[in-house]
């Protein structure tokens, strides 16, 4: 791919390689940063309280060495890796961490984080796993308790105006992301999967306004690209949770295929719906996370048939496959992950019912497994390419 001005992408590269560098620099300048785990932490509230939200990520290239003495190996390998990074000082600039109730691995290790990686502020956010009116009312209360706790910590009130402003700012980021995702729709996508994942990760440790500006900048840059290759790549959608590294996508794209869409928790899961601007912004935030973020940690059943429920759970995949003209899906689930793991047969059969092949792989969030993964993925893509011929 050729482009005339890659300043935005160069910045993405910096932020991706040195994750959190901006938040760290801002900390030195007297600003504050709040870490959080998973996709269901309401960054809008963290932002409204005056913090730069920083999503805790791991590094599959970093061997876990310190975490084993205080966290069990039976938990999510991503979480273990991220905790190991925290123990090694990667997140020492944070003022606190918000840990939502996303799954057993995360919720049951809250105290482990708190004891072994002490920070001035910790909060456990009891996110329910259900939607519907009682769950929404409950989650709204949970968020209000969270707001109160942040107010106590900072000594400053969080006004409705601040919350409404944060909601608008994140909605703007979501719109900017969707506009960029659109550039992956053409036969020759204007941005590669590797570039996209780097951007998706980079913005997770930036102030929201900077994130939106960066996404807009990259969008403008890649719009000016001319694609020289006449060959249409095999179009892949990547499905999984905390995929926050280029490793897997490099394996896919080195074969000539291209990741044109994702359903991952640092990616489209967070960008394909907006928060309604309700009179009570907290209610709007609660509604967004419970009803619009498609994660297996949320149980979706409105009393309809099994097939109707499948549409509630996976209907967005159908839309993505169609809109992004996806040829095949790669489903990556980490070991020890109950929420995703129990969905695997249903996910595979749903996607296959749409006439698209799925390659399912269980992994351990470690680059040590990448050569095994490489051989398997290459074989899958080769077989699929031959079938298409």
């Amino acid at each position: 791919m050729e482009t005339t001005n890659d300043k935005g992408l160069a910045l993405v590269e910096t932020y991706y390689k040195d994750y959190g560098c901006q938040a760290r620099a801002m900390k030195k300048a007297g600003k504050r940063a709040m870490g959080y785990i998973s996709a269901v932490a309401p960054v809008e509230i963290i932002n409204a309280a005056g913090f730069t939200p920083v999503r805790i990520k791991g590094d599959p290239n970093e061997a876990v060495t310190k975490a084993y003495s205080s966290m069990e190996t039976l938990v999510c390998p991503f979480l273990l890796n991220a905790f190991d990074l925290a123990l090694k000082g990667k997140y020492d600039y944070l003022d606190g961490i918000v840990i939502p109730h996303t799954c057993d691995s995360v919720s049951r290790t809250y105290e482990v984080w708190k004891r072994n990686f002490p920070l001035p502020y910790y909060h456990f956010l009891n996110v329910p796993h259900l939607d519907g009116a009682p769950s929404l009312a409950f989650f709204t209360q949970i968020l209000k308790t969270f707001i109160k706790s942040l107010e106590q910590f900072t000594g400053n009130g969080i006004s409705e105006k601040n919350l409404a402003h944060a909601v608008l700012a994140y909605n703007e980021l979501r719109q900017a992301m969707r506009d960029l995702y659109d550039l992956r729709k053409p036969d020759q996508p204007l941005i590669s999967g590797i570039e996209m994942i780097k951007l998706l990760v980079a913005v997770k440790a930036l102030p929201v306004d900077e994130s939106a500006a960066l996404v807009r900048q990259v969008t403008e840059e890649v719009k000016g690209r001319t694609i020289s290759s006449p060959q249409k790549p095999l179009r892949i959608m990547l499905v999984g949770d905390q995929i926050d590294d280029t490793g897997l996508i490099e394996i896919i794209e080195k074969t000539g295929a291209q990741v044109v869409m994702d359903d991952v928790s640092v990616g489209s899961k967070l960008y394909y719906a907006d928060i309604e601007t309700t009179s009570d912004p907290v209610y709007g935030i609660a509604e967004y996370y419970l009803e619009k973020v498609s994660l297996p940690t949320f149980y979706r059943d409105r009393g309809g048939s099994y097939d109707e429920n499948l549409e509630l759970r996976f209907g967005h995949l159908k839309r993505f496959i169609s809109e992004f003209n996806v040829d095949a899906v790669i489903l990556l689930v980490y070991k020890n992950c109950d929420p995703y793991g129990f969905e695997v047969p249903a996910t595979i059969s749903y996607i296959e019912s749409l006439g698209k092949p799925v390659f399912y792989v269980e992994d351990e969030y470690s680059s040590s497994s990448s050569s095994r993964l490489k051989t398997r993925i290459e074989a899958f893509l080769e077989m699929f390419t031959q079938e298409r011929r």
Partner: protein, 442 residues
């Protein structure tokens, strides 16, 4: 092919009665199915016990069936079936055992898989789960099971309790937790009424709620007799005697069982009958679900003079007066608040001891009340909810309380491939040696 299982000797007559009772539970759900009475899959500590019994729903306990398959060392075939469907071996093996079973049953067009232990488990008319009374499989297992039983509806109710925070009194937020739980219990009743076309009998629900209160009290009264020296019953038996509390709560039979157990333990104490011939070491089963395929390991401990007068696992009840419950007339509020206070009533103690957490306070209470010499934890690789945080508990216990010998065993609940009897026994031997050395020093 199922491997021959070593029989574990029970110390009490009560524990010896349990296999028949468990079998009767499964006969009951199979018979109900034949007769067209409603059968529901339900899960241990699911908070629907009173509702199920008041609405004459026959529960088919999903984890219990997986436990039976494991205890008979006959779960492998179901785990393999689940694996063939791409369920990871690292997932909860109670669930994967059950899902393998349902996949197989679906393959057979709804027929019971051949040679199912104890005749199998009935295909349910509906499923009752929770998010998140205990763990993720409470709502993911029902959803995954529906893949093989697409006509079977499920109700998942939200049931949470306030998290521990040393800087906040949980009672400040209890009201909205309670309201949510009650709304969700009402949702469960509406769902069951729709499935069965039968209305809730609210008077009966109230009577059963009273009965459950009495059963919790009787259970604790009986278990507290284990404080005696020598202890008249240990964890090896408790892994059986939990059955009426976990799977028959809300029935008179469950209450009567604990009354009989109470009487039996009193008798054994009077006659100074202990679990071990020569009780030398008193241990606490600190946390962890047991390896159902290797309960005879408790016997191994007993043979070395080590007994377990108390355990945290399956002690899912508390004396009602200890929960400081207000007078409530709505049975649903009573059910919800009883559970909520059960989970949170160690919080105050934790706040008083600097550096402690509720789980450790509970350990300390049992260590003191039951005169414990050492703590044994079991880490089951496939279960995150019970077994994450064990290392932390062990660390905090030593920090805030005292140096106490701790043994962490590793294995699983259902998957026998994780188990190495020789290695386990060697670790137990080494632990006993530590206890012995400590005793000699004192």
């Amino acid at each position: 092919m199922a491997e021959e299982r070593k029989q574990r000797m029970t110390a009490t007559a009560a524990a010896a009665k349990i296999p028949k009772m468990v079998r009767a539970n499964f006969t009951a759900n199979l018979k109900a199915k034949e007769e067209g009475r409603p059968v529901a899959f339900s899960f241990i500590v699911n908070c629907y016990d009173e509702i199920l019994r008041a609405m004459d729903i026959v529960p088919a306990w999903a984890e219990s069936y997986s436990g039976i398959c494991a205890a008979k060392r006959d779960a492998g075939k179901y785990l393999e079936k689940a694996e063939s469907q791409n369920f990871s071996r690292s997932l909860c093996t109670y669930a994967t055992c059950g899902l393998g079973f349902e996949y197989w049953r679906n393959e057979l067009g709804g027929e019971m898989p051949p040679d199912a232990p104890w005749g199998g488990i009935a295909r349910p008319d509906f499923i009752l789960g929770t998010g998140q009374m205990l763990c993720d499989p409470r709502y993911k297992w029902p959803q995954a099971a529906q893949h093989y039983m697409q006509d079977v509806p499920a109700y998942i109710g939200g049931f949470y309790w306030p998290p521990y925070d040393e800087n906040m009194d949980q009672r400040e937020v209890e009201n909205y937790y309670l309201k949510y739980a009650v709304d969700e219990l009402k949702g469960a009743i509406a769902f069951i009424e729709k499935q069965t076309q039968k209305k809730m009998d609210w008077n009966k629900l109230e009577e059963i709620t009273d009965l459950v209160d009495r059963t919790w009290d009787m259970f604790i009264d009986a278990y507290e007799l284990r404080k005696a020296r020598p202890t008249p019953m240990d964890t090896g038996d408790a892994m059986n005697t939990m059955v009426p509390l976990a799977f028959m709560l809300g029935t008179q039979e469950a209450y009567d069982f604990y009354k009989d157990l109470y009487d039996e333990l009193k008798g054994r104490i009077d006659k100074k009958e202990g679990v071990a011939e020569d009780e030398k070491y008193r241990l606490l089963w600190g946390a962890g679900l047991p390896p159902w395929f290797a309960l005879s390991d408790f016997q191994y401990f007993n043979n070395k003079g080590a007994v377990f007068p108390a355990e945290r696992t399956y002690r899912e009840a508390e004396r009602i007066d200890r929960l400081d419950l207000p007078k409530l007339s709505d049975p649903l509020e009573r059910i919800a608040l009883r559970w909520m206070r059960y989970w949170t009533h160690w919080y105050d103690a934790a706040r008083k001891r600097k550096g402690s957490i509720p789980e450790v306070e509970r350990l300390i209470e049992y260590i003191e009340d039951y005169q414990i010499d050492g703590v044994v934890f079991h880490k089951a690789f496939s279960c995150r909810t019970w077994h994450s945080g064990i290392l932390l508990q062990a660390q905090i216990l030593k920090e805030v309380y005292r140096e106490i010998p701790i043994l962490v065993l590793e294995g699983d609940i259902v998957d026998i491939s994780s188990y190495n009897e020789g290695a386990t026994h060697l670790r137990i031997d080494a632990f006993i040696e530590v206890l012995e050395n400590l005793k000699n020093k004192c």
